[in-house]
Symmetry: C2
Subunit: 344 residues, 2 copies
């Protein structure tokens, strides 16, 4: 019998369709790294720094110059940005419609100088530097009063939307708080007001208690398949300690997060034959004071709890999902977690 | 300069990214009908009726028997249903999680006996019969007190999620009202309560007045590219007369809708080289009375207005869209509508 489940954070219903049950081998995805290519022209490779816009920040050897080799993680503006950085956010209405100018930041975080390395295979100490870059960019961009939100994400493999194969993450700062974040905030805020407890903390406690969807656990972090997984092998990573924004992460926590990310990504890579995936960082919105609305979306929320959502891209979204916002997932999170636990 | 726009019906923000502007030829999609295949084994073809579960209803010649040739449109249960039809909807809670048994209907509406016909190429009089089947199934299934909603949709081409090439639509009846429908209802209801006018009717009036996003218009129906289009060449079709549920459509309206659908699909097919697409029917939720909550989602809403959403599948959804619920659309709806108007 299939089940219909609700994820309490997003208020999203999901059909866990056991009748269509699928094991890892049934997805038949092609390993992302199986394609070989000429890397001499890759604009993100070391030595090709002049093929990108000037770098915003980089983790590099102290005896090297910006926009020259010698870096380990490098942040640059996206050459084809979805939003533009220069200008004011002008808001206007046209009859029943609302709009604003498309102001924002769109940056590329080059994860490594090596074209053929994957995040799962990097040293933990290298992943720490990538997380340092995430934190640095959020801390810097949240000072810009035009931006309400900074979304960090990664597209791995062309099926996940990557147009360059060189390992990279991206970041888009927007003058609005995106819908999914608003929905999560609405729910976690209502929960907190009613119970004086964080919804995310309660979920973590329940997952640690039951254990059936757990994938990874260390002193500071947990990774599990969410009860209302939209996608097969969807995995979320949370700090165990309550923390609203990713930018508040300590150095010790960053180290442990690198360990956790590497472990979870390695399990996904081994179980699903190096699948295409997206990961997304959900953190509290920027603390931009807004006139007369101190408690609006702008404020850093005590009731938010940052986390990563990792989504392997194994199934196609069809008319039902696009039309309803309801997902059909052929692999239960309990089964997915079991595979991921047992692979190592 | 890109623009950030809001669709007032779904409350969804969209980035219209003109910097990435794309014309029809830039998408380079392969025509769906370009693949040839052996149709003798297709379970949906005329003569192969014994390869499907027994039919639920069909438009067929009066001298023919069920599950034999002689039909023009045929509705059958999905052989691999996402939800199952037999059983009660048992609801339960597990700690902070909610779930219910996966009860529902999942049907396939075979649009024609001819394997190689596309909806755009069918006679208007044939499309009328398909719309008759949509109406018949909604009218029948809404009597089932277990179901809150009936979603009719179509996946055209494998990139749009179709697993069979034979022309078909699908229908899934669910014991919950899907999220997107709820969001539309919430917004249109609030609008109606404030203004005593239908939000959808206001949008149609504004689009007819400005004309810049109009694609098609007849006495009863309009087709236009929505102001907040998520996808390039997204097109919505509305009845001009206020009508909450699709099942209230008259025979005369059904005829005009067939004409409108054929026209719009033909324009999309010609402009975009027979692209993969989804279409979805958004209609008011079932009128299931619920104890103590006569005005809850269950009731047929005077403030809803049914419509079709047609989504060509030309771009990939990546981490940003999955993580934010915010869309980046490289083709403005004004440009898309202009191409669609001028193609014929």
């Amino acid at each position: 019998m299939p089940e219909i489940r609700k994820d309490p954070i997003s208020d999203r219903w999901v059909v866990i369709s056991t009748e269509r049950g699928r094991r890892p081998s049934d997805f038949g995805s092609t390993a992302v790294t199986s394609t070989k290519e000429d890397t001499s022209k890759c604009p993100l490779c070391e030595g090709n720094e002049d093929k990108t816009p000037p770098e915003i920040v980089a983790w590099r050897r102290s005896d090297t110059l910006p926009n020259k080799p010698g870096w380990q993680v490098r942040v640059i503006p996206n050459k084809f940005p979805a939003l533009v950085i220069e200008g004011d956010v002008n808001r206007s209405g046209i009859g029943i419609f609302d709009m604003m100018s498309g102001i924002g930041a769109h940056e590329v975080i080059v994860e490594t100088p090596n074209h053929n390395e994957t995040l799962a295979d990097m040293e933990e100490s290298h992943i720490e530097k990538l997380l340092w870059a995430y934190k640095q960019r959020i801390t810097d961009l949240e000072k810009d009063q035009r931006f309400r939100y900074i979304l960090v994400f990664k597209n791995y493999g062309s099926a996940a939307g990557a147009s360059l194969n060189h390992p990279h993450s991206q970041l888009i700062a927007t003058p609005i708080t995106p819908r999914y974040i608003k929905l999560e905030l609405t729910n976690s805020r209502a929960y907190f007001h009613e119970k004086e407890r964080c919804l995310f903390c309660d979920m973590i406690r329940q997952e640690l208690g039951s254990g059936e969807r757990m994938v990874y656990e260390n002193e500071y972090f947990v990774g599990f398949a969410p009860f209302g997984s939209r996608f097969p092998f969807e995995t979320w990573i949370f700090p165990r300690r309550h923390q609203a924004g990713f930018q508040f992460i300590s150095d010790e926590e960053r180290m442990q997060l690198a360990r956790c990310l590497k472990d979870v990504l390695t399990r996904l890579k081994k179980t699903l034959n190096d699948p295409p995936y997206n990961h997304v960082l959900h953190t509290a919105p920027n603390s931009v004071p807004r006139p007369g609305k101190p408690d609006y979306w702008g404020t850093i929320s005590y009731d938010f709890h940052w986390h990563f959502e990792i989504i392997p891209r194994l199934t196609k979204q069809a008319g039902f999902e696009w039309g309803s916002g309801l997902y059909i997932n052929p692999t239960s999170p309990e089964e997915a977690a079991k595979y991921l636990r047992e692979i190592m």
